[in-house]
Structure formats: C-alpha cells, structure tokens
C-alpha cells in the first residue's frame, strides 16, 4: 500500500457524459474523506458515497482522501474507476464485483448470425449504455485501438464491469483484446465474466490462437467455468493473409475470421481506396479460407459514418465477395448492414421457387430438379435453402411459408 501518493483515473471536463473522475490518496490517519461533485448529487449523492465507502472498505483502506467528479456515471462505472485507482496503490488479488445481471448469463451458438458487430471504445461508458437497443448481432467492447495507450489500464476494469452489469439485450457480447502476447493479460478481465466471443487483432499465426485458448483453459479451470468462448481472429497484415487457412483452422472455437483493412493496406504500402482493388486478393483469400474451414467470413468496417449510401454499396460488394458480416462503428450503420446482408425480396422469391421445385421433385421421386425449362443443380438448391433459412431466422418470412404461400394461391 503506497501512502501519500495521489493517483487519478477516469474522465472529466466539457463534453464528458455518464462518466466520472476519481483522485485518490491513501493517508496514514484521519479516516475517509470523500469530496463529491456530481450533476446527480441531489438524486444519488448518498448512494454514490455509500458505494465508494464500500469499495474502500472492501480493499481494507481506512484512511484516504477521495476526490470524485461525476457526470452521471452508472454504478458499474463508478466501481470500475474506484477499483482501478485503488489498485494503482494497493497490491491485491481481490476484485470488487457487483452482482452479475442474471440476464447476462446467456451463451451464444457457433452458427448464429454475425451480420453486424458494433465497436464500443472500452473506456467510454456513455456509448456502451444504449448500445444494445440498436440491436446489432454483437457488440465489441474494445480494449485495443479504440483506447488510448495511457487509458488501457483503466479500460479493462470498465469492460469487465460492463460485461457483468450492462444489459446488451441479447447481443453477442464480444471483446477485442490487445494483440497477443499483451492481449493475454486482458483475458483475466473478461473470461470469468461470461464473454461470448473474443476478437484477436493483428493475428498472423495459429500459434496466437493456441496461446489464447491455453490461457482461457487455465482461467476456466481456476474459476470452474463451462461456457464456450468463441474466437474471431482479425487478419490485418500480409503475413496474416498468407496464413489465413492455418489461422481459420487453428481451433474448434474459431467461429469466424475478420479482415482489418486499415492496417492491412498500410502493411501492403498501398492506399486504401473506395474501389478496394488493393485489398481484393486479401478479402478473397479470407473468404476462401473461411469457407474451406466452415466458419464465417467477416469484412472490415466502413469508416464514413455520414455516408449511408456509400456504406450500402460497400456492404453489397462485401456480400458479393462472399462475406457474412461486417463491423460497424456507429449504431446507424447497423440497419444498413442488416438490410444489405440479409436476403432481399427478389432473392427470397427466387429461393422459394427453387426450394419448392426441389421438394416437389422429391415428392414425385424425380432425380432431376427443374424450374420451367431450366435444370437446377444441387448447390443452387443448397444456397436457396440457406437463403430461406436466414429469412426465417430474421422473421422476414414465416417458418410455415410454404403452407401460407399455398393458402394464398
């Protein structure tokens, strides 16, 4: 325990919302002094002080000066900031955890749709609080590039508490750790708290996947955890692209592989263009490796958040290349990504016709499926079935679409 040293954690100042800033000095005598400045003091002043006192007492700190500037932080964040400050001064293995929200105990399946995943900077709680209501398939609490290097320490506490205490309303709860090996340290903050999927950035070798899985196993054994944790490596370099197949097949829990074009084009020494010719090989390679490995291929993000038409064109191109999903950096992108990745009315109608023709042929015992004068190959039927399956899973058409269509006729 370091005495008479002042440390500070968190954010304050103009434009900072739903956040807090704590400065802490452990002293020798005199008890606990908390100076609270809060925009919600009238409504929550007492409960904030109570929580701060509870955390100090949990870490057995009896004498301290605490300056607390609050812009409407929720309890999970207050606890994260306070604990991060304390651990700069106190060596301890203890963690101060608020009770896990019961609704956060869900698991996700390997095959679930991953059309959209929304990036959330790991140290910015104001963007996390409402992320789930925009209904992306997944949210990514980002510990890597969206967090400034000097904020990475405190962000890991925020991400841990967000996994436990924020409701993301059924989204797949993902975390992007830092690049391995540094990212291995991040696992302690997320694996025991029911993270559904981990993104491994700048992945270049299968070895990195093995290292992550080894650490996950260690932590799971220590905490006796049984939940599956899926992995999504992100390929962001020329070397990574060349090792795509090895990475995609590195482990059974690799469910998807993504490409990060900003770093990839930099590594290539090429300029990132709207036409994306420079990354065509890489994108195709990723899709090909993913298909060969039987996992999902996920595209990079589209960075102009104001250009919805540009985004749409980008998603359609991505879909045409064979990708299954895309990253979003703003909630408004989610709807466009979903609408463009999911089958449209024309595709669904065509798929229905093909599936119907296939079923009729089977009922009649015919070996050959034909639609009008055209013969239909088995892979075409398979693709049509997949389209229908997706349309049903998204509620675009009913499970009993065939009966309903017949009724209409």
């Amino acid at each position: 325990m370091e005495i008479n040293k002042i440390v500070s954690i968190g954010n304050k100042g103009k434009g900072v919302r739903s956040d807090c800033f704590v400065s802490l000095e452990i002293i020798e005598t005199g008890g606990i002094h908390i100076e609270l400045v809060s925009k919600v003091k009238v409504l929550y002043g007492r409960s904030i002080v109570k929580l701060l006192e509870e955390i100090l007492s949990f870490f057995e700190i009896k004498h301290a000066k605490v300056g607390f500037e609050d812009s409407g932080a929720l309890p999970f964040l207050i606890a994260a900031r306070m604990e991060a400050a304390i651990k700069l001064l106190v060596k301890t293995d203890k963690n101060f955890l608020l009770p896990m929200l019961p609704q956060n105990n869900y698991q996700t399946t390997k095959e679930r749709n991953r059309y959209s995943r929304l990036y959330l900077p790991g140290n910015t709680s104001s963007l996390m609080i409402n992320a789930g209501i925009h209904k992306p398939d997944g949210i990514i609490l980002d510990l890597e590039d969206a967090v400034a290097p000097d904020k990475k320490y405190e962000a890991s506490f925020v991400v841990r508490n967000a996994l436990r205490n924020l409701d993301f309303y059924g989204c797949e709860r993902m975390v992007r750790i830092n690049q391995v090996p540094r990212g291995l340290d991040d696992l302690d903050f997320i694996v025991p708290h029911n993270v559904n999927l981990i993104l491994i950035p700048k992945c270049e070798k299968a070895e990195e996947i093995h290292l992550v899985n080894k650490k996950i196993e260690e932590i799971s054994a220590r905490y006796t955890l049984y939940n599956s944790i899926w992995l999504m490596p992100i390929i962001e370099s020329a070397l990574g692209v060349m090792h795509a197949m090895e990475i995609a097949t590195a482990a059974n829990n690799v469910v998807a592989m993504a490409i990060g074009l900003e770093d990839y084009t930099a590594d290539l020494g090429a300029k990132r263009t709207a036409e994306a010719t420079e990354s065509f090989f890489a994108r195709s390679t990723i899709v090909n490796a993913c298909r060969a490995a039987g996992i999902q291929a996920i595209d990079s993000v589209f960075s102009d958040v104001a250009d919805m038409e540009g985004l749409k064109q980008n998603v359609l191109k991505s879909k045409a290349l064979g990708f299954d999903g895309m990253g979003c950096i703003h909630p408004r992108q989610i709807k466009v990504v979903h609408e463009s990745f999911t089958p449209d009315a024309v595709e669904i109608t065509k798929a229905k016709k093909i599936v119907k023709a296939f079923m009729e042929a089977q009922e009649k015992g015919l070996g050959v499926v034909s639609l009008g004068t055209k013969m239909i190959d088995a892979p075409v039927v398979k693709r049509a079935e997949k389209t229908i399956e997706v349309a049903v899973s998204l509620g675009i058409i009913s499970k009993n679409w065939r009966d309903e269509d017949n009724e209409k006729i």
Binding site: V42, L43, Y44, G72, L74, S126, H330, P331
Partner: protein, 523 residues
C-alpha cells in the same frame, strides 16, 4: 407593492397539488380539472382613444426608446411586456430595464412571452428592485434566481395560449407593450417576415397590441407606409422607435436547425413514427405538430418518407417551421404550414413567399377561452418533457434537481391534440425520466397518450383504442410501471429532492387556473 405578500390561501387542487389562490395580491383559482373552470363576464378591453390625439400624417416616430417609455407614462409598479420572436438574439428587453433603472422606476412586472439566456443580465434588476417579478417563463439564470427564492414577487409560468387568455380575460393588465419588429412603417404597421432581424412572424405580440394601454413598436428597418404584410396593425400602436439594431440575426434564426445525429434520439424518432403508422394516425389528409427539437424534427422527416412512399399528403403541419417542413410544403407532402414560430431562414423565406405558409398567433392556435382553437384538431403532437410519472403527468419546467429551467411554450396547449406522444429517453446521464411522481405537474396525465422511450413504449390505459390497435405490434409495448422499474434497475432508485416549504412560482393551466407550485430549493 413591496409589502404585499407573494402568495396566500393555500388549497389542494384537483390533482392534489398544494397551490395558492392569492398570487401577488390577486385572486386566483386552483386547477379544477380539464374544461371545468368556465369564467363568466366580458373580455378585457384597452382604453378608448381618439385619432385626434395621433398625427394625421401617420408619423408616430420618436427618436429614442427612452422617450417612448417616458411618453407612455412609465412609472413604478407597471407591467411591461416583450416577446421572444428574437429568441436568444433579443437586444430590446434589457434596454427597457436599463432605461427604467436609469429613471429610478421600481417594482415593474416583466411580462415576456418567453425568456432566454440572453436575458440573464436582468438578474441585477430583479436584485435592485427595478423588476418586482416575472410572469412568463424563467429560463437559465432567471430560473435559478427564482428557485433560490430571491425574486421579490411570485413567478407565474404560462403557456403561449395561457398568456393570450390571461391578457384577453384581464388576468394580466399590460401597461406598456414593447414590440420589436424586423420591419415597420412610421404608423406602426409591422411584420416579422423581412428585414435584417427577420424572424418570420410576430404572433406572440398580437394580444399585447390589442389589449395593452400603450404600444411601442421598435424597428431597425423602417419602410414607407404601408408596411405589408401588416402582421401588427399600426392602428393599435402609439409610438414607433427606429434603432440601429434590434436583434442578433444568427441568434434569432440559427439557420443550422438540423435533424439529430444522435443515434439514440434517431431511434426514438423512428419508433415514434412507426407507432403513428401502426396506430393508423398517418393517413391522407392528416395533420401533425412538428416540434423544433432534434427528435421531433427527425419524426417529421420520417413522416415525409412515409407520405412520399404511399403517395399521400398531410392537410397541414403545425410548426415551429424549419427547412424540413418547408421542403415538405414545397414537395407537396403537406398542403399548409400553420406556423407559430419560425426557426430558420428557410422558414422565414417560405413564410414571405408561399401563401400556404400561414403565420398564426396564440389566438388562432391555442387560446382556451375562445370559440375553439385548432390545437385540438391536430391528429398527432410530438412533444418533449423533462419528467413523466406513472400517472402520465409530465413536467417541462423544472429540472431533475428541482430548479426552474424552462418555460412552458405551447406545450400545454398542444396536449389537446388527438394523440399526444412524448418521445423521451428513459434516463439521461443517470437521471431517470420516467419516475413515480413528477416534481412539477405542467400537463395532466389524462391528456398524454403515449410515452416512447428507447427501451419501451407505454400507452395511457385511458387510450384503450390505441392499446387495441397496437396489440400485435412488433414495437416493445410495456406499461408505464414497467418502464419506471427498468429506469430504476439501471440508474438506481433516486432520492427525493428536498425543497423548502416556500413557494417561489406557480404554473398556470391553459384556462388560467393554478395547476402546480414550484418550491424553493433547499441549500
């Protein structure tokens, strides 16, 4: 006036709120319920005057505002009215009280149609006794001053319609009305739709021009008679003063009114529009109230998309006009704009050029003591609120810490629409918006039909028709209690705000009765 009690005779009104029935020495009636209070008697009237006392050549100009105020008989205890057409760019109100202070006049009542942050300098005149109290709205620093219990008299908050009613019924007698006009002639005819300080319309000054003892028009753009259109009639005007500058244009119409970029607010707008669509509110020939806030603005844009897609149009849109509404008018998606306040330069241009862009006043749109008003004919009104409670009562004037912060505007009046929807976040930076009991009731729950939050939509149980229509909706329909519980689960249960017993202001209902009291903040 100084020895007069701020208020007296407390009673419990129909909503169970404790309110005074004597305010600044005048009798007042407690809120009795919607449509229950029906005063008798005749309307108020200004004194009879004669043309013999006015220049036959129509030239009523005086060199300075000071001279006009002196000629108008400015003295202790008078009521001086101004208007908020220039919003935060008003340069006139402060000058009036600078002059009053210079002349040593005391105990004035300021009767603005609304106050803005630019009026903060008036705090010094509230402190030194030049101004006794404010009846209108107390925003920003003025609200803080009032909530701290520092105002000599009791503050009175009224809606735009309530202000017209109060003047018409004689609840408020205006001694001198000062009307800042972007363009005027020497006779006093005035318009807001042109000139360097163009603001669109001057509807909030209509009552004042009709009922005040003395009317002063102040302009920085004098034109030869006739000033057309004559939104304000020179026949009601005593003096005209020409100045270099009456308002700061960029603060009057920002020209930057944009739809919100906040994804959370856009979601609220999208959900609200979808609700209206599924509830069958959007149909050919429907009408809507479009607010000026980012969320309300976006809902208008969604309405436009729906109308365009279906080849339908609205009969009229009630504004707050801005470029988005003007686009709808020009695209033929609405036949009329009935405009109460113009928010950007496109709105001003449209009002000047388009005969279907109509300038309205609180008389046509909101006055509750008239033979009807069109607020109740609007199919849907989208409004805001700082708090809503489990009885659907809503607050727009006090902040979560209990401090007076906003005026009522036309909010109370718009509640009479066929469907009133409040799109509000469930909480703002940990401050729950859906709560047990609002700090100040500005609108009774029975007039508030739907609360749209990002985490669920609550329909007022009185609206069984809407509940029935939304039975199979994919929207997250919940009860208001469920919403409140959800807010508390996320933010925690808030502590009760501590107030002093002392009342510092009252909120009037549209019929002039007292719906609630605002109490002094406890230090």
């Amino acid at each position: 006036m100084k020895t007069m009690k701020k208020y007296d005779k407390l009673v419990k009104n129909a909503l169970g709120r404790i309110v005074p029935t004597e305010i600044n020495g005048k009798e007042a009636v407690e809120y009795l319920g919607i449509g229950k209070y029906k005063p008798t008697g005749r309307k108020y009237a200004p004194p009879i005057v004669s043309c013999a006392d006015y220049p036959a050549d129509g030239n009523k100009t005086l060199p300075t505002l000071k001279e006009a105020l002196i000629r108008a008989g400015l003295k202790d205890g008078m009521t001086i009215s101004t208007h908020h057409h220039f919003r935060n760019g008003d340069l006139i109100a402060e000058q009036i009280f600078d002059i009053a202070h210079e002349l040593g006049v005391k105990d004035l009542m300021w009767f603005p149609s609304a106050s803005f942050e630019c009026h903060s300098p008036l705090v010094k005149y509230l402190e030194d006794g030049t101004i006794h109290h404010i009846e209108g709205s107390m925003n920003g620093s003025l609200g803080r001053f009032t909530s701290d219990g520092k105002m000599t008299g009791l503050g009175v908050l009224r809606s735009h319609g309530g202000r017209y009613q109060a003047v018409q019924d004689g609840d408020v007698h205006i001694d001198i009305a000062v009307i800042a006009a972007p363009t005027a002639d020497a006779f006093g005819n005035a318009t807001g739709d042109r000139g360097p300080a163009a603001c669109g319309l001057l509807g909030f000054a209509l009552a004042d021009s009709q009922y005040a003892d003395k009317v002063v028009v102040v302009t920085d753009n004098i034109v030869p008679f006739p000033c057309i259109p004559w939104q304000i009639h020179g026949n009601n005007v005593d003096y005209v003063v020409v100045m270099d500058k009456i308002g700061i244009p960029e603060k009057i119409v920002s020209g930057t009114t944009e739809i919100t970029k906040s994804p959370d607010r856009l979601l609220l707008a999208e959900m609200s529009a979808q609700f209206c669509d599924e509830a069958g509110i959007i149909h050919d020939g429907f009408s809507f109230q479009a607010g000026a806030g980012g969320t309300a603005l976006s809902i208008g844009v969604y309405f436009a998309d729906i109308l365009r897609e279906r080849g339908m149009k609205a009969r009229f849109a009630r504004g707050g006009s801005n470029k988005y509404l003007v686009n709808m008018l020009e695209e033929g998606l609405t036949e009329y704009i009935l405009d109460g306040q113009t928010f950007d330069l496109e709105g001003v241009r449209s009002m000047r050029e388009n005969p279907n862009h109509i300038n309205t006043s609180p008389f046509t749109s909101y006055n509750y003591h008239g033979k009807g008003n069109f607020a109740s004919m609007v199919d849907v009104a989208i409004l805001g609120a700082t708090e809503v409670d489990v009885n659907f009562n809503a607050n727009v004037v006090t902040h979560s810490d209990g401090v007076l912060l906003h005026g009522i505007g036309g909010w109370q009046n718009c509640l009479f629409s066929k469907c009133t929807i409040l799109p509000i976040p469930l909480f703002r930076d940990r401050i729950p918006v859906v709560i047990d009991e609002v700090t100040t009731i500005c609108g009774p729950g029975e007039l508030i039909d739907v609360i749209v939050t990002e985490r669920g939509i609550a329909i007022n149980p009185l609206r069984t028709d809407l509940i029935e229509k939304m039975k199979n909706s994919t929207l997250p329909i919940k009860t208001i209690q469920e919403l409140k519980a959800e807010a508390e689960a996320i933010c925690g249960v808030p502590e009760k705000i501590a107030f002093e017993d002392e009342i510092v202001a009252v909120v009037k209902w549209v019929d002039g009765t007292v719906i609630d009291s605002v109490r002094k903040i406890k230090k």
